[in-house]
């Protein structure tokens, strides 16, 4: 068991983002707008956390245009999935004592 939880995922909103992305099958992406509704964040708040997670290599962000509208899609990377699982394992170990 790690001595300290991953500080990047430990932040409540980032934990929710990582959990929401983990629920998607395989390498599926989710649109920013849909993710915002799921984690109940403001646009600016979610954008800032996404940037932090992207810089850590936990998520990948893809920006393009769909039907002439800008679209941002996000997905969990392999490293991010591993980090999230480690974090959840840390919490479970803590509860188990």
């Amino acid at each position: 068991m790690a001595e300290q939880p991953d500080p990047l995922i430990h932040q409540p909103m980032r934990l929710k983002i990582m959990a929401a992305l983990k629920a998607l099958p395989g390498a599926e992406q989710i649109e920013f707008v849909r993710l915002r509704k799921i984690v109940e964040a403001t646009e600016g708040n979610l954008g800032a956390h996404i940037q932090t997670l992207e810089q850590a290599g936990y998520i990948a962000v893809e920006k393009d245009f769909a039907q002439n509208r800008p679209r941002t899609r996000v997905k969990l990377t392999k490293g991010g999935r591993r980090a999230f699982e480690d974090y959840v394992g840390y919490l479970r170990d803590l509860i188990a004592g």
């Binding site: 934990l15 959990a19 929401a20 998607l24 919490l91 004592g97």
Partner: protein, 182 residues
Amino acid sequence: MITSQQAHDALQEAATAERRSAESYSYSRSAPYCILWGLIWMAGYGGMTVLKGANVGWLWLILSAIGMAISIWFGNNKADAQGRGGWRVGLVFVIIAAFTFALFSVLPPTNELQVGAYSPLLLSAIYAALGLWRGTRYILLGAFMAAATLGAFFYLKDFFFVWMAVVGGGSLLLTGLWMRHG
């Protein structure tokens, strides 16, 4: 250092976000099918109010073929990142057709109202069962569709097909739009 209670709360938050995300994902993938088949039901049941006999069969055959072709195209187009999904949509229709053939062989319907009520009732049961895993919107759709179908079957016989076109097709269409918006 975080406490055991904080760890428990964090896991619950994560579980809630995972469940909401899984539901949202499922809704986003089901939405186009609901919209498509809502429109097809509107056209099919609407057509049954003016067409009779073999023409009704032809109408549903053509509409079903169109619906299946578009559904399979959706399936291929929206196959997930691992490429799964497309061929399964086609297989769903084969399973439903085989079940319907078997059921009607054992319990042949005696009038066109029974045939008209069959598909909505079957779909209601499928949606309600699916909702136990995939989210409450499926359960609501299934329950509403079953109630609307049974209500019209027993109490609105003269307007059954109009009712199914507007209420049956309409509820599928509206649920599809609701699902599309997350």
